[in-house]
Homo-oligomer: 633 residues x 2
């Protein structure tokens, strides 16, 4: 799996990298290291669009490939075609170009929606709705001489004014635009960021770091009361892998790289980080660090706090970084943990050294059907107790099982539908599973082939003790494949009066069942009391297992036809759901973060003293609130 260097220039490049890595370990190196990198950056920089090199995904002008008022790529969406069938357009995904026969009926049945009742979005962004930019001329003058690309273009600014909370997308679809950044800058490297931050401090400009734009915590929302010039620091072009260290199995990467590019580039050398958040097509390394991200395969690769070896963050007080890349230290409180979770309030993360692993030899999906959710949870708890969880194991409730069925693409083969029918007969009639109670766990194993097969046997044996039936690789693979297309579904819903959101928590094992039951019931009750006409979709899955508890992920969606202020109703229900989560022993968030959306619960979450500590750090690092997204505190 190790990379083979061939050719003089490759060898030279590898030798230079090796030198950089070793000097990186040794005292008194940093000047040398930064000089090399800055020189390279200036050489490549200015107006060339570096993203197109080496297969990088995100262009400076995001509008070239991404939607302005919905999720993901412009060329990809769910639609109901001329024949009234659900279809997934585009060419990027396995599901692309396919008909999904059961989706329309499921959608109409679940939400009481109808093809006749349309709630379309404003077709284009009306630049006139965007406030003219507040400019800081002194800042702009000095910025121009740095060579860092920038823009005041209305569209560029709107693109960076939001994440993907429901209320943000709903507003855009209505053509409503609130406070947006006044300017966008695209640093190409760490030194560019240092200059930008220096200038912002000098001229009292508000900086909001922007990675992948996938925040679901209102983290990217511009505070409406902000009167200073707001500059969106878009890191997407600061996206190189600076070196790969095969001896220590680490890679040093610029923080603007997005997950899909990072993995693809590392794969070329036979490595991976294995960090695969559902947002990985678009979310950035810096964003993961700032929000304490979690990935699907954390059971093997760890969450972001396990993956990070070294972080560089540019703050108003200067560059913050440890001097050493040792694997684990006792040198006072771990300052990486002051950076992780700071959600853009303290500075810009520019470079990260991450662990890498050889790409696994073998991968195998799987699935297990349980007679009911309780048995499924008990099985996951036992798997966690025996510390034999696969790379990924997720248990969806009965509603999600049915939802998953509705997303099955049209099967071209009669044989496959026959098989499916057989399976269904076996499970329901022969084994006596109730289709309204059964639920499914999807599994992914990775590693050496022999170990994987052993591991698989161990997990299925445990599942059997809880009434679980192995249900094949296909169901497992499809479950994971759907992960990346689910986010596109909300946009379809919003065309037909259906709005929804996902939210998550982490909770001790003995609270899992109560939390799932109570929160789902609370959502239904709150919707009813607030006049929602048709019972909402209220569903959950156990999406990660830990020694002492689990991550639970909820979907909640409803038909808002007849409501005068649907977003307000939505917000009330979401708040009630979070109160229910907290009252049942769940956390404020497992991985989405706090942003502005969940600030109101921060004090009770970390205690007064904890709040005071966080505030004292903010006051020291950023006394003028240059990093003014107003998240967390």
């Amino acid at each position: 799996m190790a990379s083979n260097s061939s050719g003089g220039s490759d060898r030279q490049r590898v030798a230079q990298q090796r030198l950089r890595i070793i000097t990186g370990h040794l005292q008194g190196r940093e000047n040398g290291d930064s000089t090399i990198i800055a020189a390279e950056c200036k050489a490549e920089g200015s107006q060339t669009d570096v993203s197109r090199e080496e297969g990088k995904t995100v262009p400076r002008r995001r509008q070239e490939i991404m939607k302005w008022n919905g999720w993901g790529y412009s060329d990809t969406k769910f639609i109901f075609n001329n024949k009234g069938q659900a279809e997934f357009t585009g060419k990027r995904y396995r599901l692309s170009g396919m008909i999904i026969p059961a989706l329309k009926e499921w959608f109409e049945g679940t939400f009481g929606a109808s093809m006749q009742h349309k709630s379309p979005a404003a077709p284009v962004l009306n630049s006139g709705a965007v406030q003219p930019p507040t400019l800081n001329e002194a800042f702009l003058e000095e910025l121009k001489s740095t060579g860092v690309p920038f823009s005041h273009d209305a569209e560029d600014r709107v693109y960076r004014a939001h994440g993907h909370c429901l209320h943000e997308i709903f507003a855009l679809r209505e053509g409503k635009v609130g406070r947006v950044p006044d300017m966008v800058v695209w640093p190409n490297c760490h030194e560019d960021v240092v200059k930008i931050v220096e200038l912002a401090c000098k001229h009292d400009v508000c900086l909001i770091p922007y990675g992948g734009g996938t925040s679901v915590s209102s983290g990217l929302e511009c505070p409406p009361e902000e009167t200073r010039c707001i500059v969106s620091v878009d890191t997407s072009q600061m996206n190189r892998i600076l070196w790969i260290d095969e001896k220590n199995l680490t890679a040093h990467v610029e923080a603007g790289i997005v997950g899909q590019d990072l993995e693809r580039l590392l794969n070329e050398s036979g490595y991976c980080t294995g960090h695969e958040p559902d947002s990985m097509e678009f979310s950035s390394l810096g964003g993961w660090v700032a929000t304490r991200a979690s990935g699907m395969k954390k059971n093997i690769y760890g969450n972001i706090e396990d993956l990070v070896v070294h972080v560089k963050m540019v703050t108003p007080q200067g560059v913050m970084e440890k001097s050493c890349r040792g694997p684990r230290m006792s040198t006072g409180p771990d300052i990486h943990h002051f950076i992780m979770g700071s959600e853009g309030t303290l500075g810009v993360v520019t470079e990260v050294t991450m662990k890498i692993r050889p790409v696994p030899e073998y991968q195998k999906y799987g699935s297990v059907v349980f007679p009911n959710f309780e048995q499924g949870v008990a099985c996951l708890r036992e798997v966690a107790k025996q510390r034999c969880a696969p790379a990924s194991i997720r248990l969806m409730d009965n509603e999600q099982f049915k939802f998953g069925h509705a997303l099955k693409p049209q099967v071209s083969s009669m044989f496959t539908s026959f098989l499916d029918g057989l399976k269904k007969f076996y499970i329901t009639k022969f084994k006596g599973f109730d289709t309204d109670r059964l639920c499914v766990a999807t599994l992914l194993f990775e590693g050496g082939r022999e170990k994987v097969l052993q591991h698989e046997k161990q997990v299925y044996d445990i599942a059997a003790k809880f009434g679980g039936l192995a249900a094949g690789e296909d169901n497992g693979q499809r479950g994971y494949m759907l992960t990346f297309v689910i986010a596109y579904l909300r946009d379809l819903g919003m065309e037909y009066y259906v709005i929804g959101e996902s939210f998550e928590t982490s909770v001790p094992w003995d609270r899992v069942l109560d939390i799932c039951r109570n929160v789902k019931a609370r959502i239904i009750g709150e919707c009813k009391s607030k006049g929602v006409q048709f019972q909402p979709l209220s569903t959950c899955r156990v999406t990660q297992t830990y020694d002492t508890g689990a991550c639970v992920y909820f979907y909640f969606a409803f038909n808002y036809r007849g409501l005068s202020d649907p977003v307000h109703v939505y917000e009330q229900v979401e708040r009630a759901a979070r109160e229910e989560i907290l009252a049942n022993g769940g956390s404020l968030s497992h991985h989405h973060g706090v942003g502005k959306l969940r600030k109101e619960w921060m004090r009770e979450t970390v205690s007064n003293v904890g709040m005071g500590m966080l505030q004292s750090v903010k006051d020291y690092v950023d006394p003028k609130n240059i990093f003014g997204n107003r998240n967390l505190l």
Copy 2:
């Protein structure tokens, strides 16, 4: 392995515990929870010595069982007996009561020491050498009404004035006593600590938390310039397991408990934390949290940051704790990481919820002989890369291998010495290993019996690829057994002009060999240039493996006869060794911490911004520097 409750009172107790645990998960619980605990605490409290209950080790008057000027139990030490043989006195250890035939020769040969050249300690503590206590009458008056036990006794105060750095023990042996606490208090529970901290803030009294007294960073040293009354907050009597939660596999424990008691008590219910630092006989849970402790079996159980689920710390600003016991969260920067590593500068850790695991079914030791250190390191690196490290794997260099041999107890059986001789013949003559180059790795496997045997095979197969020969369980077991007696050896050395210390670092894999070679050479060179007469013992072992590097542990000792200021020479050599470590890419510390001993390197370790953050937290939490041990910053 689960505990079986039988009998009405047991069931009631378990039911009450269960109620406490569940209310602990649910919102709005804390008042209720604290009330129950405080009530119990007051009932048991006042002057009864709770430590004697339930097999707790540490009495309030430590002098009843522990040395005043050396390591460990009073009844245990290495001596040279009438016949001039080395002997290990007492009855507490496997080695106790045994003759160690080869030790004298090794000691004399390694250090150029001699039985004729003695440097005995002052026989008893001269209470006259202890400054009269600086009392704060107002504080004392209010303290008396709390019922918390206290003392102004000189001996009690001296016992808590130090850890186990060389210079601290050397000074005590010379009868020298510097600044010591003016008073000792023994809180029995969290509420006692709350009162103590409130009073200290009110009356401007300096508090120094004292757990097990095993600090090797000068962490417990009282700042000589401190003019306020210094109160040592001895947590050793605050040592109960408050509840065990078998559903979530956690235990909620008072922070004064020492490692051996914690494990013994949990074992009674079939559980363990698996946290086994070398100091575990005496070090406390609160101390582990405050210093970011690491344990021998971290490969299975994790280091302290992996074990902690919930922490309560009493600070001048109030009690700091999270509201939730969820397994992993994204709620801003993780405040547990503001507590861990704070080394007694912010408050007193009072209660900790830790992960527990079922006691492993099976344990097996092992050892491997490598032809040289380089091959051994390469093997450990490969084991780490394949992520198949046993519970513990340690590689000692050739000097430690010989040292280990010198510590072999007298073998009563001729057959065993015959076997040893055979092994030696096989390894040296038959396999061609050079006794001056070979080194040994000791291994410990734990888990289900079948898995252990599989795991063992995998590791030995890897070892074989690096020229390693399996050398039996006995050598492995003995290596680990020696862990707990090594600390007693320094006291023997100090009777004969030999002083020494251990120190450690963590370092990326590609720097391990260089660091080992360079640091050992630097020590030898510095000793020579400072007039040390006889070449020092300078030896190391790789004591932990990680994905991206290792922990390396050094021993350094020398004969100081002929030097006018041996401690000063020692300090210069130690500083040079640390500079060498840092210059070679090693960290300031893997687990011993910073204390006052390594403060001078903190700024370069965490950067200016990092220092500023730590200082800002300190200034907020403790503006009057009540927690005035002056560690870290």
